[in-house]
Amino acid sequence: MRGNHVIGEAAIRAGCHFYAGYPITPQNELTEYMAARLSEVKDGVFIQAESELAAINMVMGASMAGTRAMTSSSGPGISLKQESISFLSAMELPAVIVNISRGGPGLGNIAPSQSDYFQATRGGGHGDYRNIVLAPNSVQELADLTMRAFDLADKYRTPVLILGDGMLGQMMEPVEFLDPKKPGKPVSKEWTLTGANGRPSRIIRSLLLDPTVEEEHNWKLVRKYERIIHKETLVEDFLLGDSTMAVIAFGTAARITKGAILRAREQNIKVGMIRPITLWPFPSKAIQEISKIIKHFLVFELNTGQMIDDVRLSLEGRGEVHFYGRPGGIIPTPLEVSRVIASQYYQKRLG
């Protein structure tokens, strides 16, 4: 199946009954899939909204009602959703937001790119908040992480972003849908708005006029974020065992890097990879751990350098960090990346 379709199918299997979206390349197949598929699901709701702004606010309403809800877009559309993402975070509403990103800034182009890393991980909206950001690198992972996204969103009452790119959205690979995790304890939603039938009325809001109340709310969110950092960080190691150098890359770039590393290893270059699967929380601990052994890092991103900040924040000087970036929708080949690896490797006399 095609990546975009897989996200849709996984969402529906995870119990997503509500989708609102707006066309934008390269995520259209997802919207289209939901249009067709949700009409077959009992109580399934598909709305093609009049804009990205309307779409995310519809999702907000559905989430208030306790429904698993999703929206998707690409760069420019995600920018338009920022105000409401900030609201969702403040009101502690679960929601899954998919960004099949493209080249930017501005209208840019529709080629795969990773230049929305900052926007996703630093909160492009106003105020102190963080969102869980999942970065799949295969069609299978699109399926698995989409399902996980809904669970995390409910568990922590927070928006979860899936950051893919045009390549993942378009790519076809075989995929297996795991049965949605038996919800150990179903997350009870005793905060949802369903009408005050037989219970006191409820309020969902983000306005906290009294600074002391708002401050307490901010710190409460921070405590939640710390729990998430502690429990939900995901990272993949690849051939680190004997390596003297590690490439750090996520998503599509990591996929290319795998190919590059296999090539490099053919030349006896001892290089491995660290792949953050959650971009926030970022696997800082794991990188710190590895920096006890490996001292040379190459950050490879399909942008001009964004995740590198998180790598440097993780290391705080405990390793040398180099960067290779190809922004604007360029997809370098594994060969090209393996050459960058080799040149770094030999320059640093690691081999």
Binding site: S51, L53, M60, A62, M64, L193, G198, R205, S206, L207
Partner: protein, 252 residues
């Protein structure tokens, strides 16, 4: 003697924070009365706006969920689609619904979303301190039209309700006021009818309420009500703008 008038039970026991003579207070009570009388407290869900009525949830004793400024119709759409057998209404100021929320409102009406919008038109941005709104009258002084609104510099007062009446998904659109006892009673009837339209699944309904804002109009409350009846209604005539509940199409 029997108590014949007191606080509706779907309002909480909090005194309003609104200014003296504010239309929001009157309208809150009216809505509360209608919810009581129609027995809707347990299924009603309100969507308050950014605006002076942002704290409406402190007064209504029903479930309420805040929308970002202007996005009431979209949030209500999400709620109602997820819970088709609840009563979902937005409560929005003129800045909220007729400026920043124009697109969301028109498209909700156009899709025929089965929700009700209560549109409180006080011809001004109340909460932010009295700036010009799309609904501000020609000549009206506001903090962003200090010399009075002129059509050349600031444009024309906008008749959102009439535009919404053109959307084929809208069913009942009416304009009332809370400027006098009789207008208050008419407003109550209109709200009740709009809720009824929604309960029968007919589509989009909206009640526009001309509402005094003495504070920003720089008038005492009674003057403000007179100004509604003398000036505002000329620009925004009261009455039914569209009602196709009888199957009859009577668009503008």
């Amino acid at each position: 003697m029997k108590k014949v008038f007191s606080r509706p039970k779907s309002l909480k026991n909090n005194p309003f924070h609104y200014c003296p003579g504010c239309g929001h207070s009157i309208l809150h009570r009216i809505i509360g009365e209608v919810i009581d009388e129609m027995g809707l407290q347990e299924i009603a869900i309100g969507v308050p706006p950014a605006g002076c009525a942002v704290l409406a949830y402190n007064y209504f004793d029903i479930d309420m969920g805040e929308a970002p400024h202007g996005r009431g119709a979209a949030v209500a759409t999400g709620l109602k689609r997820a819970l088709p057998n609840r009563l979902v209404f937005t409560y929005q100021g003129d800045g909220d619904i007729a400026a920043i929320g124009t697109a969301e409102t028109i498209h909700a009406a156009n899709r025929g979303e089965n929700i009700t919008a209560i549109f409180v038109n006080n011809a001004v941005y109340g909460m932010t301190g009295g700036q010009m709104a799309p609904t501000t009258l020609p000549g009206q002084k506001t903090t962003t039209s200090p010399g009075g609104r002129t059509e050349v510099a600031h444009g024309h007062p906008m008749n959102l309700s009439e535009m919404l009446a053109l959307a084929s998904g809208s069913v009942y659109i009416v304009r009332t006021a809370v400027s006098s006892t009789s207008n208050i009673l008419k407003t109550k009837k209109a709200v009740a009818k709009a809720f009824q339209v929604q309960l029968s699944g007919m589509g989009f309904s909206l009640v526009e309420v001309l509402s005094p804002c003495g504070t920003n109009w720089k008038m005492i409350p009674t003057e403000a009500c007179h100004w509604i009846e003398e000036s505002m209604v000329k620009c925004y005539p009261l009455g039914v703008i569209k009602d196709i509940t009888g199957g009859r199409k009577s668009a503008d």
